[in-house]
Amino acid sequence: MKRLVFALLLLAGCGRNPAPPASFIFARGADSQKLDPADVDDGESIKVLVNICEGLVRFKPHTTEPEPCLATGWEISSDGLTYTFPLRQGVKFHDGSQLTAKTALFSFHRQMKKTLPDATFAYWDAMFNVVTNVEARGNALVFHLREPHAPLLASLCIPAASIISPNFKDQRIPIGTGPFHFVSWTPNDRIVLERNPDYWDTPPSLARLTYRVIPDNATRLIQLRTGEIQGMDGLDPNDLPVVQADKNLQLLSTPGLNVAYLSFHCDKVPLAARRAIAAAIRKDDLVKAVYRGAGIVAKNPLPPFIPGHNENTPPTLKSPISNLKSPLRLQVMTNPRPYLPNPLRAAEMIKADCAQAGIPIEIIPNEWGAHLSRTQRGEHELALLGWVGDNGDADNFLYVLLDKDTATLGSALNICFWKNDKYHDLMLAARRETNPGKRAELYRQSQEIIADEVPMVPLAHAQNMIALRANVTGVLLQPNGDVFFHKAVTP
């Protein structure tokens, strides 16, 4: 018996090594998929990569406006077809090799020529297919375009446009130029980064940055409260009061680059019913109950801080409806999404509002994978869904979510299957217009068509939120949800 107890203690003793105390530990709910900036689109991979890799340009703090990064600036030819980026001098990759125009070409050519058989490079197809060639000219990179494409500069701020070392081979081992370099990855557990002492800007003060996976929201918050970790995301809105009441914790929040919406399948739900439902939903109550202060009411699909947002879209016309024989089926995902913390609760409130207006609705809950398949195949009448923006440009919301080009049955992003030619013309014109003021006007017009035709009801924009230990400073939370630790300081 004594021997057994001893064996038990021995077994219990061989736990895994705790992290060294000097490090900053940031916890999230799920693991990264790959650490190849050009071949990922999941938030958990991007979250880590933005602290390792950099692009020619990046977003200014607290905005989605491009500013120079590895390029010292940019020049756009008068026909809008050539973009020239002079490179910063003396920048080194984490493997010691030098950043030059020649070495920088690798990051773009590998995506254009698809040099990795297993890689999808989905962002290149989606956002850079207008680029016909990238070439090195002296110390500058030159982009040649098929046609003028105003969103390009914003797209170059996303991780897919990061410049990585030509020695990069393994999609698990990123080699960038950023403030932290990659050290190790234990799948489903942690990714460890360390300070890059040769960083071209001031090197960070953190010696070590660890991303831990803690799937359960409640456990993650408790570990923050006990001080086992220094920061976390994926806060449950119900826990906000706990964080606010704890003197050892602080909350960072920004308006989010996202939208949650109720989609109508426009071939199945007639205009009169769409207008009636849009008028029946009480968005204020819904946002209060579902987001608990972590979201704002959406007027348009576009978040309000993006240029082109229309403050004054006309109110939806009310049209009387008749002969709705059977209830409309509302497809809902059962899991929280970054733009919607509690989809089922939102669906129930929509159902109650519509019932008051005499419109019966039946809620069909789906697990996330099934929900995506069903809505992309157009099997819904009504559906809850949302979108997290990539490059902070209006095109990335209004074209992607509602243009007739993206309403392909089976793979739709426009799951409203709304096909409006006037709207389509505005979208294409805005892509060609490089004058920011004129572009914004085109997008404002497009939102008036949305308000009139109601292919969707924009519900809310969720705030980005992270919780930190109170004694941490310098952490930068961007509107697109990226968290930068370059200037972070712990006592």
Binding site: K34, D216, T226, E228
Partner: protein
């Protein structure tokens, strides 16, 4: 004995084949498509390209045969759809954590369960027995998820005795609760039955101490059902590990499976479940053999 072993081993192999087919079909019957979950921008070309790369565009029987060929031929489960990593390497990395958790929990559940069961049997019919039975009834009924959170709140947040992760003590204790309660109930019944037998009276008559009577004679006679119970208990522990590992952020197989299911990562789910099923079957096989050896009446000529 040899016939018995051969028969059981044959059943083991047949069971594994059946399990592989069930797992293969079940994974594909669940609605949702890995290609769609993988792509933020799902053009028909992108979806088709991924499905082709993963072999999902081929007929199901062909897919199954290829899966079997890989497993039997090269011992490979393929590559994860999501991460591109070799599933076997991933499993090799996640298994030790789960086995450590399950082993500690198993030993703890067995010791606690047998002690509680004997305690109840010894005081059968008294308030002590009622108390022990109530404790084990609560143990069986409490949801693991709730117990885990409660344990974290009390021992990590309020008392600060243990860290939430990096220590096996708390997750193992939580995971052991339900199996311990089951072992206690089985032990109680079996020991009470044994205590009524003639050989116990003989043992007492020749002056054996109460301790020796209980642990040497009665427990030995009651060992059969307890050992069978332990085999099932191990299967339960591996299943319960999914929830426990999630709450305690323990990087084992349970969390690997949970993540793979949500992403419809077919190769990862198939590989992990097959190994899990094989392990549970192997442990039950061992339990059967042990039971057979402990119980002379089961030995056929």
């Amino acid at each position: 004995m040899r016939m018995f072993l051969l028969r059981r081993a044959g059943a083991l192999v047949a069971g594994l084949f059946a399990a592989s087919l069930v797992i293969f079909l079940l994974v594909r019957l669940v609605p949702g498509d890995p290609a769609r979950l993988l792509l933020k921008n799902p053009t028909p070309q992108n979806i088709a390209a991924i499905q082709h790369r993963l072999g999902l565009d081929r007929p199901l029987p062909i897919q199954y045969l290829l899966f079997l060929k890989n497993v039997l031929g090269t011992g490979s489960f393929g590559e994860s759809i999501v991460t591109g990593r070799d599933v076997k390497a991933d499993l090799a990395q996640t298994w030790p954590a789960t086995l450590q958790l399950a082993a500690v929990a198993m030993v703890a559940a067995t010791l606690a369960g047998i002690w509680l069961g004997i305690f109840a049997a010894r005081h059968a019919g008294t308030w002590r027995d009622a108390l022990a039975s109530t404790v084990s009834l609560i143990g069986v009924s409490v949801p693991v998820f709730w117990l885990a959170l409660l344990a974290i709140l009390v021992f990590c947040l309020k008392l600060g005795w243990l860290p939430v992760s990096d220590s096996v003590i708390l997750p193992a204790a939580v995971l052991a609760t339900i199996p311990a309660a089951f072992v206690a109930r089985v032990t109680r019944t079996a020991v009470i039955e044994a205590l009524g037998q003639d050989f116990i009276r003989t043992a007492r008559a020749k002056g054996a101490s109460e301790r020796a009577v209980l642990y040497r004679h009665a427990l030995r006679a009651a060992a059969g059902p307890i050992v069978t119970m332990l085999g099932m208990e191990f299967a339960y522990l591996l299943g319960g590990a999914v929830l426990t590992e999630t709450v305690f952020a323990w990087p084992g197989i349970g969390r690997y499976i949970a993540g793979a299911v949500l992403a419809r990562d077919y190769p990862a789910i198939q590989g992990a479940l097959l190994v899990l099923v094989a392990l549970v079957m192997a442990v039950n096989f061992l339990a059967d053999v042990l039971h057979h050896w402990l119980e002379p009446r089961l030995r056929q000529p």
